[in-house]
């Protein structure tokens, strides 16, 4: 096999912080290469260097054995490198074809359309080039992103955590596609936190930790446990622990009905109750009403009928987020970059919003930054948010896991009595995911009612005391833990 992409002794620092330390990395044509490592290990930074978004401080990049200097995504594309970033970069108002053209300037629409259709057919999926990108689901958007780089002639394809936002089924389909790309002669680099993807769908595995490459191996002879040890340096085993003391009803949904976004199902007559000291897991294939349920609980959209009761408050279904949060609701939203954090402002300012709204830093005429900063400093330490080199640093620069910890630190401040967590370990490494789970259990054990919405059945089984299944916008079944995995799975996909 030939070494298609070679990164040799690459180092990169950000303002004194060494994010990459003399890393070597090789990707070969025809292989799927999994890149693993903890949050903040430097995976995205390394791949950003490979695709020309960052310039390395030291070391160099070679393609087919020739040293190159890549200057930006366009240049990378011209050299056959294409990267699909975790946050998609499609223009929502543009059609699929226009988005592909945007990445392939100087070519005729007919040529691009023909090529895109050909490639899509080869990869085994259908696309409609005239659809607006904004109307597509995440899985489709991702395929457009992949098509975009393929049309540009990419032979080295970098996918940064591509399955983090996909349902397990969509994830499996993507793995099939990735294999096809490799068989067609491309080098595919798969950045992931999901061990089974590395174990079952890759040819080689590179593991990074703390900005260094610590291992390069093949999946043969590895198992999840040994791979975990390689990634985080220790064994992490999570075991279910059921609730010890369940109290009175804290939150209650009664026949909640909510229209979905265009073409979505929304919620139909959803009812369930969650008591103090229990974790209520909402299982289901994503796209079956999870987003609507979470918006209804957060107060971002109001149900068209039905009620949402919070202990001592009566019906809150027509109250906004401010009211609910003042009275003890804490939320970990599914997309931390859209509803959880404001990336362009500082860690302190992101943390301080609850305190500010509650008047902890002065009345409306004041914002005592010193106090806010002290509170943020304490929270960052207590919740082990790493990578904060200064509290004035922009929150957008935190790696995925640490951004999530910051959200949790803010949401758990003031010990909320109702906690909503929507796919809280998405994009997190094993250790960070386990830490989040531990926080949820701790919240339950101090008496909070926890609602966990997740399309990861393992996560649901691991944490929940009771489980409801969301299917086509309805809560079709309820289970009491411990339940049979197969029964829940069947309820998730049944078409009654």
């Amino acid at each position: 096999m030939t070494d298609t992409l070679t990164l040799s002794s690459v180092s990169k620092s950000f303002g004194g912080f060494r994010a990459l330390d003399t890393v070597d990395f090789v990707a070969r044509a025809g292989e799927v290469h999994a890149l693993l490592g903890e949050n903040g290990a430097g995976k995205s930074t390394l791949m950003n260097i490979a695709c020309g978004l960052y310039a390395p401080d030291e070391g160099h990049v070679a393609i087919d054995g020739k040293t190159v200097r890549i200057s930006g995504a366009r240049d990378a594309a011209a050299r056959g490198i294409g990267m699909v970033h975790q946050h998609f970069k499609l223009v929502p108002a543009f059609s699929v074809l226009e988005n592909i053209m945007l990445f392939n300037p100087g070519r005729s629409p007919a040529e691009v359309a023909g090529k895109a259709q050909d490639l899509a057919r080869q990869m085994g999926f259908e696309i409609s080039l005239s659809d607006k990108a904004g109307t597509l689901g995440v899985a489709e958007q991702q395929r457009i992103e992949i098509l975009k780089v393929l049309v540009a002639g990419a032979r080295i394809i970098i996918l940064d955590e591509p399955t983090a936002v996909l349902s397990p089924e969509e994830g499996r389909m993507l793995m099939g596609l990735v294999r096809k790309l490799a068989e067609a002669g491309s080098a595919v680099i798969l950045v992931t936190h999901k061990l089974h993807e590395a174990l079952h769908h890759s040819d080689r595995i590179t593991v990074m930790r703390g900005g260094r490459k610590i291992s390069e191996t093949t999946p043969e002879g590895m198992d999840p446990a040994s791979l975990t040890t390689l990634i985080v340096g220790e064994q992490i085993i999570e075991k279910p622990q059921l609730s010890k003391a369940v109290g009175p009803i804290e939150v209650e949904l009664e026949n909640v009905t909510l229209g979905g976004e265009a073409g979505r199902k929304g919620l139909v007559d959803v009812s369930f109750r969650v008591r103090r000291g229990e974790i209520y897991g909402v299982a289901g294939v994503s796209g079956n009403g999870q987003n609507e349920l979470s918006a209804a609980i957060m107060g971002l959209s109001f149900p068209s009928s039905g009620r949402i009761g919070m202990n001592g408050l009566g019906d809150v279904s027509k109250r906004g987020p401010g009211y609910r949060r003042r009275h003890g609701l804490g939320c970990i939203p599914v997309d931390r970059y859209s509803h959880g954090l404001a990336g362009r402002i500082s860690v302190t300012d992101n943390y301080a919003v609850n305190g500010a709204m509650a008047g902890a830093y002065g009345g409306w005429g004041f914002f005592k930054r010193g106090l806010a900063q002290a509170a943020a400093r304490e929270a960052v330490a207590a919740y082990d948010v790493q990578g904060v080199r200064s509290l004035g640093q922009r929150a957008g620069l935190l790696s995925g896991g640490n951004a999530q910890k910051l959200v949790i630190a803010r949401e758990f401040e003031g010990a909320p009595r109702v906690v909503l967590a929507h796919s809280p370990s998405r994009g997190l490494d094993v250790r960070a995911g386990a830490a989040v789970h531990e926080r949820l259990r701790a919240a339950r054990d101090r008496g909070a009612a926890v609602i966990l919405i997740s399309d990861d059945l393992d996560e649901i089984m691991l944490l929940s005391d009771r489980i409801g299944v969301l299917n086509s916008g309805r809560l079709t079944r309820e289970f009491k833990a411990p339940a049979e995995r197969g029964d829940i799975g069947a309820a998730m996909v049944s078409h009654e």
Partner: protein, 375 residues
């Protein structure tokens, strides 16, 4: 994280293997992820210096030697207390105009309707003066408040349309300028035509309907009003919860809404505040400079307001500083026009040079350049 991937058309494409014999330095552009405050200020200052140098060169080319220019600036603006006084008189309404614009911009509301709001402010203030509303010793305060109300009413429509229906405020605020202008013409050619001179402007305000003099230089209360307003807004934007929440909202409005920040309320407050201060600008000119409502007292302020807010980085104190230099530029421009015959368009060109330089300097905040020896 960075959204520049598709839009970075500025990337230099570097050849894979340039001739190894020549030593060549090639720039490698990298998207910056964060920008330190020091760099930001440095780049800003350098861009201002570049703009100043270009302006001086441009004037030299049109026949104003740098030494003449220096003398002209010195005599127009700084030679005597009187000269400085007239600069400051000119500065006051510019500060208020810049603040009106900056308030809206901070809330991501692109208020291009300053002139309309000024006109309504002046109409409301003049109505108080003409119909003798309220006691004489508080008349000027009543006029100021009425002006704020007028500006607020004029911006309320676009604000409502934006908030409720998502209608672009650039269009609505801009078009309402013309409606306001025709309303003004109707008033000064019709019911409010000056009965004394029969010219198309209102009758002169009584002494107690004008901003009182400070008794220092030729200054009246417009300047303390402007500076006081800037200080209050500085506090609100930099040290209050309101300013903090506005920052949060402009960084990510969806997140702000989800954590319970009253996004709609704060946005409406900022929009109305901008309109009120816009109305006050009209009052400051009518009651502080012209002593009546004329038919073109507002002209040019829309552009100046945007320019001052932009160059002042929407910071109230920045607005004060930029407004001062703007006043100097306008007065020096007038005397250059008289003594050197340069066209007034040159003054506008100089303003444009400053805007262009500062806007272009963003490039250096977006990208980092690595100079490398080509392989």
């Amino acid at each position: 994280m960075s959204s520049t991937e598709l839009t970075d058309t500025n990337h230099e494409t570097v050849a894979v293997t340039p001739p190894a014999t020549r030593l060549r330095m090639v720039p490698l552009l990298e998207v910056r992820q964060s920008v330190s405050e020091r760099l930001r200020i440095g780049v800003y200052v350098v861009s201002l210096l570049v703009a100043a140098a270009l302006s001086v060169a441009l004037l030299a080319w049109s026949g104003v030697a740098p030494s003449d220019l220096g003398r002209e600036i010195a005599t127009t603006a700084f030679s005597s207390p009187r000269a400085l006084g007239s600069v400051l008189v000119r500065t006051a309404p510019l500060v208020i105009a810049g603040l009106a614009t900056a308030i809206a911009f901070r809330a991501n509301f692109w208020n291009i309707g300053l002139e309309g709001q000024m006109i309504l402010g002046a109409i409301f203030a003049s109505a108080v003066a003409i119909y003798d509303i309220g006691p004489e010793n508080g008349r000027v305060v009543t006029m100021a408040l009425a002006a704020c109300l007028g500006g607020m009413l004029w911006i309320a429509g676009p604000g409502l349309l934006k908030q409720r229906l998502g209608i672009n405020e650039v269009i609505t605020t801009l078009l309402l300028n013309y409606v306001a202008f025709n309303l003004l013409l109707h008033m000064v050619y019709g019911p409010w035509k000056d009965p004394v001179s029969a010219f198309p402007h209102t009758e002169q305000y009584e002494t107690f309907e004008r901003l009182p003099m400070l008794g220092w230089l030729n200054l009246n209360w417009a300047l303390p009003l402007a500076v006081g307003l800037a200080l209050i807004l500085w506090w609100i934007m930099s040290f209050s919860r309101v300013g903090y929440l506005l920052d949060l909202m402009s960084s990510n409005a969806r997140m702000a809404g989800a954590v319970g920040v009253p996004v709609a309320g704060l946005t409406v407050a900022a929009i109305l505040g901008s309109g009120a201060v816009g109305g006050l600008t009209g009052f400051a000119i009518s009651a502080g400079v012209e002593f009546r409502m004329t038919q073109d007292f507002f002209s040019g302020y829309l552009f100046s307001g945007v320019l001052i807010a932009f160059l002042g980085r929407n910071h109230p104190l920045g607005v004060v500083i930029v407004a001062f230099f703007m006043a100097v530029l306008l007065l020096v421009g007038q005397s250059l026009q008289v003594f050197f015959g340069v066209p007034f368009a040159l003054v506008q060109l100089i303003q444009a040079i400053f805007i262009t330089c500062v806007a272009a300097s963003e490039f250096f905040l977006t990208y980092r350049m690595h100079w490398r020896q080509a392989a």
